[in-house]
Subunit: 351 residues, 2 copies
Amino acid sequence: MPHDKTFGLDCPLPVGERKQVLLAHGGGGRLMHDLLDRCILPAFANPQLAARHDGAVLTAGNVRLAFTTDSYVVRPLFFPGGDIGTLAVNGAINDLAMCGARPAFLSAGLILEEGLPLDVLERIIGSMRRCALAAGVEVVTGDTKVVDKGKGDGVFINTAGIGVIEHGFTIAPASVRAGDAILLSGDLGRHGIAVMAAREGLEFESALESDCAPLAAPVLALLEAGLDVHCMRDLTRGGLATALVEIAEAAGVHLAVEEERIAVPESVCGACEILGFDPLYLANEGRFIVLLPGPQSGRALEILRRHQVSAGAAPIGQVAPGPAKMVTLGTRIGARRILDMLSGEQLPRIC
Amino acid sequence: MPHDKTFGLDCPLPVGERKQVLLAHGGGGRLMHDLLDRCILPAFANPQLAARHDGAVLTAGNVRLAFTTDSYVVRPLFFPGGDIGTLAVNGAINDLAMCGARPAFLSAGLILEEGLPLDVLERIIGSMRRCALAAGVEVVTGDTKVVDKGKGDGVFINTAGIGVIEHGFTIAPASVRAGDAILLSGDLGRHGIAVMAAREGLEFESALESDCAPLAAPVLALLEAGLDVHCMRDLTRGGLATALVEIAEAAGVHLAVEEERIAVPESVCGACEILGFDPLYLANEGRFIVLLPGPQSGRALEILRRHQVSAGAAPIGQVAPGPAKMVTLGTRIGARRILDMLSGEQLPRIC
């Protein structure tokens, strides 16, 4: 996510009541954007950061590369459908895929808390290994640090990734055009609810598993088919709503999406009703949106639906006339409301 | 450092008394090597990891790249001569330089503890910015996470780096040959003692500053001069002794070094005497060794001494006849003793 592809500052900050870091600063929402907008872009000004994409697109010699990083601090370490190791590998793969790159190489940096049982570490490394093998990426370099008991939380993992870009497209908000269709690759909210349930020890009627999965295969299939992919984004912290707002703001367009087209599993709906969450803001780890010319959406859906991870792909809206830098949602009851980012996150430490 | 370029496992571990992660597992010494040797290489087996170098050397298209990562957990965050931000940027630059690469792009992943004063974050980001500008590298992608108060320690930073390799050499232990000279770029121990003094609130007669600095300029100058650089290593966790043992073991050679050739500032010696540390194992953040054919050592020293960061370069020994995979030190009193790795680290969380 572009919003969390940077940090802070060297410049006046949202001060006053916010002179300390809050959990919400890590939530992917408006507070994090504030921090980044005011302070990071000025501190490390360069075109890659300014592009506000899921990763940086670089040129080395005659090769175009994507480069991305994320740290994982999910709590608990293990949850239905995955663990911090599957997140760390698939997350890097997905950020590279969102740049239209073929994921190739990963680094892994572990920060371990003194006293962590070694069998926990073994399970996590095993997960990383399996995910890397499954996706055909290599973990080529790494680092291990240990911090005193009480100064960490079991395991934090950073992965950085390098992917190779084999096409000539510029996949970024700047490429989005009027008339583009917005496709969503599947249903929403499984990861967020699965982690929350594991954390709080909740049980729901039907067991929910995280959607954590690699997205490179369907993305590369779209590109190989020659479709004019304008922009993509995976729907992690902040969920679908935040991703849409980010694109609308960066591209200066109006995005109109329809609630009835957005699939949410019944069990996610049920959990959201009980807990007061909005599924549009729940984190996913195996879902993305793609924006491309409207006339190509049929072909794109056909390709996406061939891949299990995006079998539930559906058109959910389009770049439409309307106020720029804004997202509107047509609701089931026929109203139209503005979608904005949350201030923080509904669920901290979700990835 | 190759020893910390990986993690753990999926395999039998040094169990028994060690079923939990110890601080010493992060120290860069024998315990960490045990963890990596038994478990990481098997888990992520590939030639890049097997090369046990400071970073991975990769090929993308027709370009050779170096790729490296390190997490920084130094305590305290600020110390004489630097802070966690200068370490994070210079550390990545130095690992790339040790691969003979021109550092180009960095990622930065921040893990912030809730409650961190924002002005502390500002200072650190300012340091990162200054170091990146000074070295001509760009921070092109990043990530920010926040963890609950008491689940972190202010700030942890991960940097990953990409460098471009513009020469045809294979710079790695495997290239080390009999007769190679071992050059050390400067005096030892400043970083370790500076951090320790800041942590413990100690004051020494003469103020010691960390040697934290970027090493790319002298390294690239050696390569541009056409010298046959066989291997390099920066002397971070575990210090000179550990770096030498790593190279001797990986290259299957005997390294003989002479104590009287190894410069240690008087103030470091004094601190070591009081505190019971051995300067050969102290961490440095702006020192490296280079191994290259003996006849080229005069020219190499001349080049190194032109750069302020390596103005104190000196020949300290050579690849000599003797038991393979072993390092011996000729002492000032004329004896010869074996240098081995420590089990852990004299000072945890030094970087």
